[in-house]
């Protein structure tokens, strides 16, 4: 192979680092513009699109509400949002873009813990506060003191379900079926097991599947042979619907329960009647009669034509909390907003009163829902 004109390559090689390296210029700082730029990254497309779209709608509604009321600190909020297509590696790119090219003062996102973990180190090292609406893996806020979340974490959620199953449903031996491809599922399973065995329960079978699988008959048959009182399935609604369906087909009639990954309007269409009488924990219920929730539900339904789910409510809360923190800080400076966020006490969110604990996780109650007549029904609230 002849390399003709080697000098061209030398020239190209010379220009490249200078071009990119010299782009050190700070992005147009928000201080002198007339809007406050807030970034959001979510899985608007791809396999987890329903989660991203939900949380985005909630966030957008919050921004619209805030701007209609005059904005924050006298300026309108400009929401700049990016799609990570539910793929690994994309969040890292878009968050960098939001911070360095768009010059956002804070970042909202994401629902999935793995994608939050991708973005968190960047926000932390850039001094940009990040609020995750719904990531429940404890590792997310451990990245650094600029990372916050408005939801509870898996250790809490796992324990809530464990106690509910053990003490309220009074089940003795339970099987666990988790998604080996999902950090969320494995984490929640771990904490559930700890809580359940700690309350003198027995885990008599443990099986795995891979997110994306459609056939669970092998695992379910093995579980059936162990004859459990109940099955814990801490997975996403995409598989849970099928799992519950196949369990009933195989003659498994014990109750099945899970976590907030069940929360989706698509769960019941897939699982159908097989879901009757099953339980899951989540962040809020649209049936909550408090005026704050009802107002939110009414507004959301009017704007989008659908009832908001937990992701939407959390998206709303994350945006509202950010605005509140900016107001309290009196500035958009990263460090000041961060301090204001950390000092949050009893912020009235749609998903409950939010208080930031020492780890920047929200200390708030969980809600248990059941499925009755094809709809989610509120059962009880469990405080931390």
């Amino acid at each position: 192979m002849k390399i003709r004109h080697p000098h061209i390559y030398l020239a190209v090689l010379a220009v490249w680092p200078l071009l990119t390296g010299c782009n050190k210029s700070a992005p147009e700082s928000s201080a002198d513009s007339s809007t406050i730029k807030v970034g959001e990254f979510a899985s608007l497309t791809g396999s987890e699109a329903t989660f991203g779209q939900s949380s985005h709608k909630g966030t957008q509604l919050a921004m619209d509400d805030l701007n209609a009321a005059g904005g924050v600190l006298g300026k309108k909020i400009d929401l700049i949002y990016e799609d990570n297509q539910s793929q690994a590696g994309q969040s890292a790119t878009v968050v960098r873009k939001l911070i360095s090219s768009d010059g956002v003062v804070a970042v909202l996102g994401e629902v999935a813990s793995s994608r939050s973990l991708e973005a968190a180190p960047i926000c932390q090292q850039s001094g940009i506060p990040m609020i995750s609406p719904a990531s429940t893996n404890p590792k997310v806020t451990q990245v650094g003191d600029y990372i916050f979340r408005v939801c509870f974490i898996d250790p809490f959620q796992g324990t809530v379900m464990a106690n509910f199953v053990r003490k309220t449903l009074k089940l003795n031996s339970v099987a666990v079926l988790s998604d080996v491809k999902s950090d969320y599922s494995l984490g929640l399973a771990k904490f559930f097991k700890q809580g359940f065995t700690g309350a003198d329960g027995k885990i008599i079978a443990e099986e795995n599947y891979s997110g994306g699988d459609k056939d669970f008959s092998a695992q379910l048959t093995a579980i059936k042979a162990a004859n459990p009182d109940g099955i814990f399935v801490p997975g996403y609604y995409t598989e849970v619907g099928l799992i519950v369906l196949q369990a009933k087909q195989l003659g498994i009639n014990c109750p099945i329960f899970g976590g907030d990954g069940w929360e989706s309007s698509s769960l019941v269409p897939i699982g159908g009647a097989a879901l009757e009488g099953d339980y899951f924990s989540t962040h809020y219920s649209p049936q909550d009669t408090s005026p704050a929730v009802q107002n939110f539900v009414k507004e959301f339904t009017a704007k989008y034509g659908e009832t908001p789910d937990a992701m939407a409510a959390l998206g709303y809360d994350s945006a509202m909390l950010l605005a509140d923190a900016i107001k309290r800080a009196g500035a958009t400076d990263g460090a000041k907003v961060r301090d204001a966020l950390a000092a949050t006490r009893n912020f009235p969110g749609v998903t409950g009163n939010i208080t930031m604990d020492a780890n920047r996780d929200a200390s708030k109650p969980a809600v248990i829902l059941t499925i009755t007549n094809g709809a989610f029904k509120y059962v009880e609230t469990i405080a931390p």
Binding site: T45, G46, A49, T50, N208, D213, A218, T221, L250
Partner: protein, 301 residues
């Protein structure tokens, strides 16, 4: 014992679907010596065809019902047969004289295109496949319980296999197919229109894949545009296992993989389930590359 029988039935149902897809792979390979990477995605399109067809069919036939279910199955098969012919005509036929690698790359391109266009057009989130066949649980003595849908899968697969065997052994077109797969040049010299035979083969294979897709969706009513990737790969392994180019081998391979996967997953560990098919593939290629029922092919210089 009950558990074992239960797992066996689970595996058989799964294996039947793999067998149907594997048949398409093996037929195309027999004729063209080429692996149609996009075959798994035809399976997916069959399921989606059924999904969009079902509401239209209700205008003529009630759903769920036996007649309605058969109608959805048949029309989906027809649509995908046509699709298979179109793909062959425009993406593969122009490349027949090129090195095999070019066709392989094109097949990968077609596969990716179908998957991503599917995500774009249908949306990536899973959809609920409607009930097109009346289903009822069958619980027998001894604690075995399965659903009529699983029996339907096994039965329909059996019927399709018999039909296929009839076509291949007893019809003129079938004879032409066998001739072309044995020696394309000689067949052409004998007056066989190879282009028509190849199109027919693709149509047949695609129809079978579509049937597999609809049957799969009946049993696992959640469909999404990427659902064909893993079954497609496993069916390919099944075809290789049985001896690529060999029809009964493909069916046998499908059943074996379905049952093995289910048994290993149920008794040993469900964690490595996806890797099992690949493990079998590597094993077979190392030990007996011509497959269980295949003949050794000598590469002529």
């Amino acid at each position: 014992m009950t558990e074992f029988l239960q797992q066996l039935i689970n595996g058989l149902a799964l294996g039947s679907i793999l067998a149907l897809i594997a048949l398409g792979y093996t037929m195309v390979y027999g004729i063209l010596r080429f692996i149609n990477f996009a075959h798994g995605d035809v399976f997916m399109l069959g399921a989606f065809a059924g999904f969009y067809l079902a509401p239209k069919i209700t205008r003529v036939l009630p759903l769920p019902s036996v007649a309605g279910g058969i109608a959805v199955l048949a029309v989906s098969m027809a649509i995908c047969a046509a699709l298979g012919v179109v793909i062959e005509r425009f993406a593969y036929r122009p490349l027949r004289k090129q090195p095999k690698l070019t066709m392989l790359i094109t097949a990968i391109g077609v596969s990716l295109f179908l998957e991503n266009a599917g995500q774009f057009v249908f949306g990536a989130a899973p959809k609920r496949f409607p009930e097109i066949l009346p289903s009822f649980p069958i619980a027998t003595l001894g604690g075995l319980s399965f659903n009529s849908n699983q029996i339907v899968v096994i039965a329909v697969t059996g019927l399709l296999l018999i039909a296929l065997r009839f076509i291949v052994l007893k019809t003129r077109m079938g004879r032409a197919m066998r001739a072309v797969s044995f020696n394309p040049e000689a067949a052409a010299l004998m007056g066989v229109n190879t282009d028509v035979v190849i199109s027919f083969t693709f149509a047949l294979g695609s129809a079978l894949a579509a049937a597999a897709g609809v049957l799969f969706a009946i049993n696992y009513p959640s469909i999404d545009p990427l659902m064909g990737i893993l079954p497609g790969l496993k069916a390919f392994v099944a075809a290789v296992l049985g001896g690529i180019g060999n029809l009964p081998g493909a069916a046998l391979g499908g059943i074996i993989i379905g049952v093995t996967e289910t048994l290993v997953s149920g008794y040993i560990s469900s964690t490595y389930r996806d890797a099992i098919a690949f493990g079998i593939l590597i094993l077979i290629l190392l030990v007996k590359p011509s497959g269980l029922l295949g003949k050794k092919e000598i590469e002529k210089v």
